[in-house]
Amino acid sequence: MKFILGKNKPWIFIGVISVIPLLIWLFMLPVNNRFSNSFETMTSLGQISALLGFSLMAVNIILTARFHFLDRIFYGLNHVYVKHHLIGSVALILLLFHPLILAVRYLAISTQAAALFLLPNLNSWPQTLGTISLLIMMVLLFFTFYLAWQYHIWKFFHRFLTLAFLIGFFHVAFITSDVSANLFLRSYLLSLGALALIAYGYRLLVEFGQYGKFGYVVSKIRKINSDVLEFSLEPVGQPIKYLPGQFTFLSVEQENFSREEHPFSFVSVPADREIKFTIKALGEHTRLLANLKLGSFIFAEGPYGSFGQPEHSGLPAKKEIWIAGGIGITPFVSLAHDMEKSGRRADLYLSFRSPEEDIYVDDLKDLALKNPGLKVFVHYSRNEGYLTADKVERLSGPLSGLPIHICGPIPLMQSLRKQFIIKGVNNNNIHSEEFDFK
């Protein structure tokens, strides 16, 4: 029960913060008065959509600050970003319907009244600010949702959504409404909005001021195959402290190099002074990383993530199932090397397209020889088809009650999850790491 509640902690966190303004608003007047006729009902619905939309948007901005407590509550920053996409979409839809419902209520008076309500009103600048905020959001939405930009261009446009929120913040602060009539509601909403803006300011400080980051230099570069490189980094100053399975955001300080941050799982173990990352050229940025030079300066922000952490399984320690697809092997390399110390037992499945693309197989098989708690199974999809839950069950035995950790391409993770659930595995026992920060 505790674990079930724990798994829902993110939604409880988001829900409580967003619903509080609604509750305050509801208790301002008898509920019947809010819905006594069609005009009042439409007014109330318009207000509800505004209260929820604004609160969710504020929470959404706070989520992007990458606070470590959020990483813990959400069981990994990758899950924070999954919810960020969802909440941002819901907030936007609610904010779209806010002026729409308020305008439609005036149709009972006249179409002209409804039309005038929608037009910018130069005599009511708070209302005009709301219009501007919404228009900016829609323009930015068009750029970020419907046009396929390179990541750094996409991110540039995406940042301005906070500007739209700032303008909306002043709309909320100064519009004559139930918010202005109730000190408690007003204080709560403005405080929440201010917190969101402060969180965004903190994010900018970290990103551009390198606040709280760890400095490293590239000490070794090893080519594993035509697409994959392993980088070793020596700390300059205090080293980052991490757990096996976690990841960090790396940004490169090298001439002619983009300073974008991208997440990479640690391949090294915490006991090592050097940290190691293995990078496959999958996208524009990772292709550029092939040009990294020895001695290049790199900032590391983190660590983040809870992938592979045994306590998040919520179960007593027992044999685990680890499944890696392609470059998704990286967190398992760290976890496997740490097994002797952690005492964990695991059946590790490595899935690659072909032997030419496999990495760390020999390294992990050697580890398995030394550690009877680790069993390694290699699977090549070109010859054997995709890895299935049937094969895992055939080789590892009954899966019920076993924690399953999967890292790899999203279609692989989603497909295996469905197959395991069909086999009766509890969805709460399946842990995956999706790296989709866009």
Binding site: L96, A103, A114, A115, M138
Partner: protein, 209 residues
């Protein structure tokens, strides 16, 4: 979620365009009164000679034309004096006509039958009261001249958007004889829901948004 956002955006723009288009199509210059100001004329003959201002205009221009005909409002103490209409003998009522005199307006002084004088014009606000953002705070002005409250409060100065709603409730000018056949405007409509008891004494101020 992308599909939901796309659908929401489509609905949003479809409704906005529909409302704006309908508002333009049904736009009516003829019933537009002057925006309400403190210095607007209160004599019906004076009012009739002033050109009307298009609804939706964000400028308050009526006062310029009436500067020489009404004293400027400078303090709350003399608002009522300044706003007291110059009483000219009302035209004699004829069969099937009603004269919109101050005495006639005073008969319609409840939430269920609410007439009001604003800058020399008479309005039937009965059906509007449930929609009034200020709640029942306008009810005490039923049957009376509410110009000063409308223009400068309390509780606050009404916006040009509020001005734009007035044509929907306009009956006629003060002391004007109107046909008694205008029953939708003159008769208290039966469709307005009664205000809840705790709002009828004007003790709860609603809001615009």
């Amino acid at each position: 979620m992308k599909n939901y956002i796309t659908i929401s955006l489509f609905i949003f723009w479809a409704v906005v365009v529909a409302i704006l288009t309908a508002g333009l199509v049904f736009y009516n210059n003829n019933n537009t009164p002057l925006p309400i100001t403190a210095n607007s004329g209160t004599n019906s003959t004076t009012t009739n000679t002033i050109a009307s201002t298009p609804v939706g205009s964000n400028t308050i221009s009526g006062s310029k034309a009436n500067k020489t005909s009404a004293p400027r409002v400078t303090s709350p103490a003399n608002i009522n004096t300044a706003q007291t209409p110059v009483i000219t003998p009302a035209p004699a009522p004829t069969n099937n006509s009603v004269v919109l005199s101050a005495a006639e307006v005073a008969k319609h002084n409840t939430a269920s039958d609410c007439w009001m004088i604003l800058s020399g014009k008479v309005y039937n606000f009965t059906s509007f009261i449930p929609s009034h953002p200020g709640g029942s705070s306008m009810v005490p002005y039923c049957g009376r001249d509410g110009t000063s409250s409308f223009v400068s409060g309390p509780p606050h100065r009404h916006s040009s958007f509020a001005d734009s709603l007035l044509p929907n409730y306009y009956i006629g000018d003060l002391n004007q004889a109107v046909s008694a056949n205008q029953t939708p405007l003159l008769s208290p409509p039966n469709t307005s829901p009664a205000l809840p008891a705790n709002l009828q004494n004007g003790d709860n101020e609603g809001n615009d948004d």
